[in-house]
Amino acid sequence: MISRFQIASKNLLRKKSRTTLTLIGIMLSSWVLVSLLGFNRGYETALNRDIDNMGYQLMVMAKGCPYEAATMMLQGGAGLRYIEQTMVNSIAARPEVDKVTPILMQAFFDPDKGDGGGIAGYFGIDLATYPGMKPFFRFRQGGWFKNDTAAEAVMGYEAAELEQREVGDMIMVPEKNVPLKVVGILERTGTQDDGTIYVPLKTLQKISAIDKITTIGIKVKKDADITKLENSLYQLPDMQVVSFTQVKQTIMKLISTARMMVLSIAIIALLIAMIGVVNTILMSVMERIQEIGILKTMGAMPIDIFFLVWTETLILCSVGGIAGIGLAIVFARLSDILVRRILPYSPGGELVAIDIRLALLTLAVILGVGLLSGIYPAWKAGRVRPLDSIRSEG
C-alpha cells in the first residue's frame, strides 16, 4: 500500500521546476541562518580563547598613543616606550594581584622577510613567571630555556614551520646578528603565540642593550575586584592599563551590532522562503482540487487531506533545510575567510563553528516555521467540498 509520504513526494515531483526553486529558497535561507548562528558562537569562543590564552587579565604598559606604538613596532621598535623593571614588584605587592610577569617586546627589521622586508617580533620573557601564566602551552619538541641568560629561543609552531627550524637549530636575530639556539617548539595553539619567538628576558635585554621592559602581565586573584585594581593602576604615573575583559566586551559590542543586522536579513530571507513554500503548496492544492474531491468521495477525511498536504511542506522544508545545512558545513571554511576579510579584527581559530547541535537546532527552526506556513494550504485542502470540486472545471 502506498504511504502518505510517497503520495506527497509524487505530488511534489509533478512540478519539478517549481519544487526545485522552492527548495533552493529554503536551502539558501537555512545556509545563511546556520552560518550566522555558527558565527555567533564561533566568534565569541575564538575571542574568549584568544584572550584567555593571553594568560593574564590585565596588562600595564607605558603611556602613549597605541597608534604610535603600532608604528614604532612596524619601524623596528625604535623609540618604543619602556618601563622600569622595579614596577613589577610594586604591582605584585597589591592584594588583588595573583601573579605578575615582566615582558620585553622587541621588533627587529628583517630585510629578507616578505615584500620589502618585515618585522621579526621577539618576546623577552621571565622563565620563573611566564610559563606559569601559560599552563596550556604544550611543546612539540624540546622545552623552555636552560636559564634566564641563555642564548636560546622557543618558537611558536608557525614561526618554526616558516623558518624550518627544529630543536637544536640556530636562528639569527635580524639587525643584531646574534645567534640563538632553538630549544623548544610549541604545539599549534591557533593564536598569536604560533608566530612568536620567545627569548629569556635578560638575553633580549642584552641583545637590545636595554635594562627595562615594555609590558607587565597581571593575573588577578580569583575573587578580586578587577575594576578596582584597574583604577588603582591608572593612578601610576605614565602608565596605561589594558583590560582584556573590557577589550572583549568592546569587541563583542561592535560585533553584535553587525550581527543583529545580518540576523535580520537572515530572518527576512527565511520569511521569503516560507512565503515561497505557502505559494508552492497552495498552487499545488488549487491544481489538484478535483483529485482532492475524488479522494474525499472515496472516504478520505479532512484530517487525512490536511496531513497529506502538510507532509509535502514537511518534505520541502526537510530536504531544503538539510541541503542548506550541508552546504553551510561544507563551505564553513570559505565563510570563515570571507568574515575575516570583512571584520576589522578577528581572533584566531574557527570563526564559523557549526556542530551537530547547532545543525539540529537550525533544522528544527526551519521545520517549525515551515510547518506553520503549511497549515493554511493544508487547512484549505482539507476544507474542499467533494461535489463542488468535481463540478468545477479542471
Partner: protein
C-alpha cells in the same frame, strides 16, 4: 551621549583595542606567508631581472595533492637522497612562473624553500625550456655571510647546469663528482647554507622535472 558610557571610557577602550591589535601584529605575516610555498616578492621586476628577454609571465601552481600524491612525494624524496627534504604538506602549492616572449613560452622561474643554517633559504632559478639554469637568485637567507652567497660570482657557478649535473653529486653527503662538486664555498664557516643552497637547487630541478618537463615530454 549615553550617561552610563562616558567619553573617556570609549577612548580608553578604543585605545585598548588598538593595543590588542598591536600585540597580535607579530603573528599576522607569519600566518599568511605559511600558506604558499615560495613566491617572488616582486614578480614584475624579479621576472624582468631573472629573464631579461621576457615580455610577459603567467603564474601557475602545482602540488603533490593534485598530481601524484604520496607516491610521487616519496619518489622525489628518494631522488633527493631519501631524506625528508620538502618540509611541506602534500597540499602546499608550488608557484611556477611561466615566462613568455611574443606570446611564446621561453622558460620558467621556480623557487623552493630549504632549511638553512639560521633560517629558511628561499632559492629561485630561471630555466630554459630544456631545464638548463639561466639565473640563480637567493631571495631569503639569514646569517652574517649572506652577502658572500649573494655575490654574482657565486650565483654564476649554477648557470648552465642541468639536473644531470646534480645527479652526479649528493649535496646531503657531499659525495660525487662533476661541476656541482667543483663549486667553491664563498663562506667556509657556512657549510650548512652552502650545501643547503645546492640541495635547494637540486630539489628545484627535480620538482620541475617531475611536474613540468616530464609532463611536457609526455605530451609530445
Amino acid at each position: 551621549m549615553n550617561p552610563g558610557y562616558p567619553n573617556r571610557s570609549i577612548s580608553r577602550i578604543l585605545k585598548q583595542l588598538m593595543l590588542l591589535m598591536v600585540l597580535m601584529l607579530p603573528a599576522v605575516p607569519t600566518t599568511t606567508q605559511a600558506a604558499v610555498n615560495c613566491e617572488l616578492n616582486y614578480p614584475a621586476s624579479d621576472v624582468a631581472r631573472l629573464f631579461p628577454e621576457s615580455d610577459n609571465y603567467k603564474i601557475s601552481y602545482f602540488s603533490f595533492a593534485r598530481q601524484g600524491g604520496e607516491p610521487l612525494l616519496r619518489k622525489v624524496e628518494a631522488r633527493l637522497g631519501s631524506v625528508p627534504a620538502l618540509y611541506a604538506p602534500l597540499n602546499v602549492p608550488y608557484t611556477l612562473y611561466e615566462i613568455y616572449k611574443g606570446g611564446k613560452r621561453i622558460g620558467y622561474i621556480h623557487g623552493v624553500n630549504q632549511k638553512g643554517q639560521y633560517g629558511v633559504l628561499e632559492v629561485f632559478v630561471s630555466l630554459d625550456m630544456k631545464g638548463m639554469i639561466k639565473a640563480f637568485y637567493i631571495q631569503r637567507m639569514a646569517g652574517q655571510w649572506v652577502n658572500k652567497f649573494t655575490l654574482p660570482k657565486f650565483g654564476k657557478q649554477f648557470v648552465g647546469l642541468t639536473l644531470r649535473d646534480f645527479e652526479l653529486y649528493d649535496p646531503v653527503s657531499g659525495k660525487g663528482s662533476g661541476k656541482v662538486a667543483a663549486m667553491t664555498n664563498p663562506a667556509p664557516l657556512a657549510v650548512t647554507d652552502f650545501y643547503g643552497l645546492q640541495r635547494a637547487v637540486k630539489k628545484n630541478l627535480v620538482l620541475m622535472d617531475e611536474f613540468v618537463y616530464s609532463t611536457q615530454k609526455g605530451k609530445q
